[in-house]
Point group: C2
Amino acid sequence: MVGTELLDATFAALADPTRRAILARLAAGEATVTELAAPFAMSQPAISKHLKVLERAGLVSRGRDAQRRPCRLEARPLREATAWLADYRDYWAESYQRLDVLLDELQSVDPTGTERRPARPNGTGG
Amino acid sequence: MVGTELLDATFAALADPTRRAILARLAAGEATVTELAAPFAMSQPAISKHLKVLERAGLVSRGRDAQRRPCRLEARPLREATAWLADYRDYWAESYQRLDVLLDELQSVDPTGTERRPARPNGTGG
DNA sequence: ACCACTCATAACCTCCTGGTTTTATAACCA
DNA sequence: TGGTTATAAAACCAGGAGGTTATGAGTGGT
């Protein structure tokens, strides 16, 4: 069992655009805090805080290189999160297709005019 | 471009265990607010708020069935989120394997023990 | 018409988040 | 030893999140 807290932390960490940008940048390789802070219009402590959040979620780990504390990515929690998402996403997509058809059929067979939902606007196309 | 706001809202919505549970329950089919609230040890308005968050993230939409407002899942934003995740996850996983091998090789070929920075795995992806 | 049911809104509280500036710590350099 | 660089920590603040209770509004049943 994954324990919801890891998922909580992971998704929460991913919910911030700055942090996603940091992750994106780290995808290109290790980087120091200063390097990571550079492209953003915010202070270094702010970035440090973001890194702390990412670290707490297990998404990044840090090394040591003299005064620098290079950050690198940790893929494991992403795997959990992706697994969770992909699992449900697929299931939902399936359910929807079925539901779509089902509702369509119901409306054909049930001309009482009862206002049942009008079978999702635009569904599973994609 | 997806616009970060949808991702923000999606991940933020997924960051709460109650909301994930709601989604999980909705995966089994539509449900009313009362039905959704039942298994939780919190008030109905709290659930309504959670639903609002999920709705704002586009993860659920609502119909109308008499006094009830049945909720159903919307798979689209999940697709975005999964895409984002899977994309990076794969890339990271790859980078890591490469980095792993790379470090291994470096240590074999460079027995001087000098603590060099572990040579980023050729960045410019994307 | 009235009541019961389902749900949303309002008002309120507390705690967390994301930012700030300022200061402290740690390692290198001279 | 002192100065510079890199990063963390502290103190503070505004706003939002997640919960509560109380109330209002739409709908159906009788």
